[in-house]
């Protein structure tokens, strides 16, 4: 039997759009469930704080009468479920009430703080992505060389040194010793503001970059050893084409996943960096709210953080599925 014609054994339905939409719907639903559960936890645990919420509001020296008045004013005598319902319905309208400590609507405080934090995080993240990926690719390609060892040293230190310690050292070196850049506050807008955000941004970027470089180097190193790279080279494909369509594409899932993880990890880092550089961002706002036992503010920030994490994970998953068709299988209801 000569085989001049062969029909493929399996004909999976490919990756149609309809099952994908179903998957997306399921993911959104489960994301909503997670956010709902977290909102309950957030709501519940502030009520579990020592002395209850009225103590938090009234402060340590409030009298019994004052506490009763607070309970009345904030409807703390209603059943917990009613209070939670109230909380949810206003939260859906982006109304988190009034901050005890800032004496203004919670959303106002948050949006003001976000105007500092968002550019800072975005700058740090994008810089880390671009430079970290580049460093990772080059050091994987020259594995074992001087450049690779230098990068390795940088990633080990950058990824594990406590960020507040590096932040203080950087601010001492560039702010105090060299006097190149301001180290405190966010400046008066325009260029001054940018100058003030350079050091915090760089500090954030260094840690993130280390994490991205490390994963890129490992994954690209694995891909470079794969047969399909040898096969592509053996077919005379141009090196740049091999880099883009073979190496980077096949590292894509890991890189995107790590980029998402780094973005989430920057939530912790930004608290510390804002503390060191005395910036009025979301991190400082959270610390302030905690110190002041400002319950509405704590609830709002935690809830936003949770939504942010869930959203990042969802986007990461979708991007990974767009990169790798194998991930669409099973999730879109298609089996091999």
């Amino acid at each position: 039997m000569t085989t001049t014609t062969v029909v493929p054994r399996r004909h999976p339905k490919g990756a149609g759009l309809a099952p994908l939409a179903g998957y997306l719907a399921r993911r959104l639903l489960s994301a909503a469930v997670v956010v709902a559960i977290v909102s309950m936890l957030v709501f519940a645990f502030v009520h579990a704080a020592p002395g209850g919420p009225e103590r938090s509001i009234g402060g340590r020296f409030a009298t019994a009468e004052q506490l009763v008045a607070i309970r009345e004013q904030y409807r703390l005598n209603d059943p917990l479920w009613t209070q939670y319902g109230q909380f949810v319905s206003s939260a859906l309208g982006l109304d988190f009430g009034t901050s005890y400590s800032m004496r203004e609507p919670v959303t106002d405080s948050i949006s003001r703080a976000a105007s500092t934090t968002v550019p800072l995080v975005l700058f740090g993240w994008l810089a880390a992505l671009l430079i970290g990926t580049a460093l990772g690719v080059v050091s994987a390609r020259h594995a074992g060389g001087a450049f690779d060892r230098g990068v390795l040293g940088f990633t080990v230190v950058g990824a594990s040194a406590p960020i507040f310690a590096t932040a203080i050292l950087l601010s001492y070196v560039f702010g105090v010793a060299l006097g190149w850049l301001p180290t405190l506050g966010e400046g008066d807008g325009g260029m001054d503001r940018i100058r003030h955000l350079v050091l915090p941004g760089v500090t954030l970027a260094i840690a993130a970059m280390a994490a991205i470089t490390k994963v890129t180097k490992v994954r690209v190193g694995q891909v470079l050893e794969a047969d399909h790279i040898t096969f592509a080279t053996a077919r005379g494909l141009p090196p740049r084409g091999v880099l883009v369509s073979e190496v980077l594409r096949n590292s894509g899932v890991q890189l995107v996943t790590q980029a998402g993880a780094v973005l989430v990890a920057m939530l912790s880092a930004v608290i510390l960096v804002e503390e060191v550089f005395d910036l009025d961002g979301l991190g400082s706002l959270l610390i302030q709210a905690i110190t002041a036992r400002d319950i509405p503010l704590i609830q709002a920030i935690t809830l936003f953080t949770c939504i942010f994490i869930v959203a990042v994970n969802l986007v990461v998953d979708l991007v990974c599925m767009a990169i790798d068709p194998r991930l669409r299988i099973g999730r879109g209801g298609v089996t091999r």
């Binding site: 060389g145 912790s268 905690i290 994970n313």
Partner: protein, 287 residues
């Protein structure tokens, strides 16, 4: 007519593999021993960690005060030595408990599979992408539970990563013929776990211990730095860093010492952990 041909493809150099322990790892391991010495000899050096001498405030390093004094005139070197125990204890506890629990969970999930695996994997998936420090900041800040609540919260939120890494290793090994052969011979599953699986993944367990230790140092000192967990004035390195920072221009070393100590500890533990981890991976590829 002889001619030399070398690869013109992508990777240009082969990773050097040297036998033995690299110098960097050795140095890191030795540095990790320094705080242990401090714990064993708490009265190292000439100063006093807690005596407040207002007249001696903010002295620069001298023979009497090796790292100078802080704003209250306390000896920084003595405080560093004194703080070593708190710097070690929290991360050690966090790393040990995390590794112990996650090893058990990973063995159950990766070897026995079934519904237990489903429950454990679900737990891991839900908590996986939560940044531990943020949760610890909020919980410790609101509940005011102090240092030990911080350790507990960070332990719980460090579990998912560790379980995922170890579970993957257990699952990979459990499918290999040597385990199937042990099953076919009738070896009891406890013995398969203890005699076969745990020894094979033990380098990974040790590596994960060092990595968790690193995160312990970083996150616990961050809590202290933010003023959560430890009371003001304690000799915790993170706390010292926060308190001495404002006087950095007067005595640089009062700030630099705890900062550098934290960096050196975290980086050293990470170097050792990374090295062990890479060695385990390389051994897997070489089989």
């Amino acid at each position: 007519m002889s001619t030399s041909l070398t690869l013109t493809g992508w990777r240009t150099r082969r990773p050097r593999r040297r036998p033995g322990i690299p110098v960097g790892v050795l140095i890191a391991a030795v540095l990790l021993l320094v705080p242990i010495v401090c714990v064993l000899f708490p009265s190292l050096g000439p100063g006093n960690a807690t005596r407040i001498v207002a007249s001696d405030a903010l002295l620069t390093p001298s023979a009497e005060h090796w790292l100078g004094t802080d704003s209250l005139g306390r000896d920084v070197f003595a405080r560093m030595v004194h703080g070593a125990s708190s710097a070690l204890l929290g991360p050690l506890l966090l790393a040990s408990v995390t590794v112990a629990i996650s090893t058990v969970l990973a063995l159950i999930a990766g070897y026995y599979r079934g519904w237990a695996d489903g429950v454990i994997s679900r737990f891991v998936d839900v908590l996986y992408s939560v940044p531990p420090l943020v949760v610890a900041v909020v919980l410790v800040g609101v509940l005011g539970g102090g240092f030990w609540l911080g350790v507990a919260v960070l332990t719980v939120f460090n579990l998912p990563h560790n379980v995922r890494v170890l579970r993957a290793a257990v699952e990979e090994q459990a499918q290999l013929p040597y385990i199937e052969a042990a099953k076919t011979l009738g070896t009891k599953s406890i013995r398969i776990l203890w005699r076969h699986l745990v020894p094979v993944i033990s380098p990974l367990i040790v590596a994960s211990f060092f990595l968790r230790f690193t995160y312990g140092i970083v996150d616990l000192s961050a809590l202290s730095f933010l003023g959560l967990g430890v009371p003001p004035g304690s000799t915790d390195w993170g706390r010292m860093l926060a308190e001495n920072r404002v006087t950095m221009l007067q005595n640089f070393w009062a700030t630099a010492a705890p900062g550098l100590a934290l960096i050196v500890m975290a980086v050293s533990a990470n170097i050792v952990g990374d090295w062990l981890y890479n060695r385990y991976e390389a051994a897997g590829r070489a089989r």
